[in-house]
Amino acid sequence: MTGRVPLFEAEGIVMRFGGVVALRKVSVTQFEGETLGMIGPNGSGKTTFVNVVTGHLAPQEGRVRVAGAEVTGFRPHRMAAAGITRTYQAVRVFRELTVADNIATATVDAPNRMDADEIAATLDWLQLGHRLAVPAGSLTLFEQRRLEILMRLVQRARLIMLDEPVGGLSATEVRAMLQVLGDLRRRTGLFVIEHAMKVIRELADSVVVMLAGEKLMQGTPAEILADKRVVDQYLGRAHA
């Protein structure tokens, strides 16, 4: 691993929704050059954590730092400017706009955006070049997920937080997506929430295990898979 320069540092994050405590003093640091995974049962706070780091939610306690600067409570457009972006658990593109317009929209307020040649090359790589004139809503789910990634890449995001990137994909598509993500992690920082252990095992250098809003443990995929608590609490049911 290079340097040990943090991409983001989340420290003691507490996020409450009325009576529900979705995050209880969660601290996570992701370093440059490392792919971080996050697993945990439904409702354990994974999406909420991404919402806090990317500025969708302002936490009641704790702080988020990016490149050493405090960014807690920044709105998402400022997080995007700082290079921190995310995809959504339910795929999200501008469905009525063409693929070309989706991409153009992603570049309109991205100061560090790719030039036209780089965009063309990235389009080729993600095999979306022939779909430019199609409304994004009529793409297949797999294509929409690739478009989501493309729209972050053209901004030259430093970190893309992927919320269940293979959710809803067929077995063949999952394999193809794994290849895409394998290449992607060489281009940019990746944070991956997944239930599919296969994805986590192949991609993540380090895995955060969430349980009921708390960070249960963190370790390499091998380490967490060997932990009895993880096996009992989570994999016992979800491992497939």
Partner: protein
């Protein structure tokens, strides 16, 4: 910028020819010419509403109120001795700023809630027109508003109609330039999915604010010209029905299309005058039109055509390089 003009050049040219021809063709009948002038004035308003509703996805029911503030301000300044051409920019800027100030709380709201809030604001503005009798002459309104001066004489008749034609053409050119600029792309993103737009780096609140200011300026400029053109203003001239009518013209013609608003205006702006003798059924017809548009024509007359045309341009150019260059 030149790209935008090239793309819509033919449309703008056709519109300009029609706009200037209209007053000349109707010059023989002052009543029809007046209706034509009113329609041209409405083009300025629908261009602003098109920006707000068609592109930014906001339905501002205080649109007429802002036009009214500008109209009263212009009349007040003229009464205080200022020339119309001095009063115009001052009144328009003042009204647009007041509009933004009043709209500020509403701009944090989405969709239906924004519309509801804007309805309340419009109601307050109308009440203010009635209440501040010293400034507005209350319900009675202000009549015999003097025409603007124009090369030594008063601006009236065909001359005024042609000035309104120039104004309408200017409004459409401005709309094309705004919509084709990166600003237009941001507004469409906000309309389609504001949360996603924000995530992609677009400052949603700021874009809405800017759109609201520019849209209000269209409302205000139209309002300032309305006063001397019609020669009479009252709280009823700028009530919520005007906001709804202008909205209807945009929705009827085709939301999010440049020329839809113009088509809607041409078809609907003369209606109140042509139906003047059937005053009772007028509101019924409007009600039916509003329901008809919402239920039968959610995309407006040009809506279907517009999306087909958009798909067409997509195939011939990836759009990327063009946008990159812009």
């Amino acid at each position: 910028m030149t790209d935008a003009l090239r793309k819509h050049g033919r449309g703008l040219l056709v519109f300009a020819v029609a706009a200037y021809a209209l007053p000349l063709l109707l010059a023989g009948n002052r009543y029809f010419a007046f209706i034509g002038g009113i329609a041209l004035l409405h083009v300025v308003w629908t261009a602003g509403m098109s920006l707000l509703y068609g592109y930014a996805g906001l339905m501002p029911l205080m649109f007429a109120g802002i036009a009214g503030i500008s109209a009263y301000a212009a009349v007040g300044l003229m009464a205080a001795g200022f020339a119309f051409w001095t009063a115009l920019p001052v009144a328009a800027l003042f009204a647009a700023l007041v509009g933004v100030g009043l709209g500020l709380p509403a701009l944090r709201l989405k969709g239906f809630y924004f519309t509801l809030c804007s309805l309340v604001i419009q109601t307050v503005i109308t009440l203010a027109f009635v209440y501040f009798v010293n400034l507005t002459n209350g319900d009675t309104g202000i009549s015999q508003i003097a025409p603007p001066a124009w090369f030594g004489g008063p601006l009236q008749g065909v001359g005024f109609d042609l000035v309104l034609a120039t104004l309408a053409v200017g409004a459409m050119v401005a709309l094309v330039l705004i919509v084709e600029a990166p600003f237009g792309r941001r507004l469409v993103a906000v309309r389609e999915d504001d949360e996603l737009a924000e995530m992609l780096g677009i400052d949603v609140v700021r874009q809405k604010l800017a759109a609201f200011f520019v849209g209000s300026l269209f409302a205000a400029v139209g309002g300032a010209f309305y006063a001397p053109y019609v020669g009479f203003v009252s709280p009823r001239s700028f009530d919520v029905l005007l906001s709804l009518n202008i909205w209807l013209m945009v929705a009827f013609g085709g939301r999010g299309t440049i020329w839809g608003a113009v088509v809607g205006t041409v078809l609907l702006a003369p209606l109140p005058f042509l139906l003047q003798d059937y005053y009772k059924v007028k509101d019924v017809i409007y009600g039916l039109l509003i329901i008809g548009v919402i239920v039968l024509l959610p995309g407006g007359i040009l809506g279907g055509l517009g999306s087909r045309a958009a798909a067409g341009t997509g195939t011939q150019s990836p759009g990327l390089r063009r946008k990159e260059a812009a």
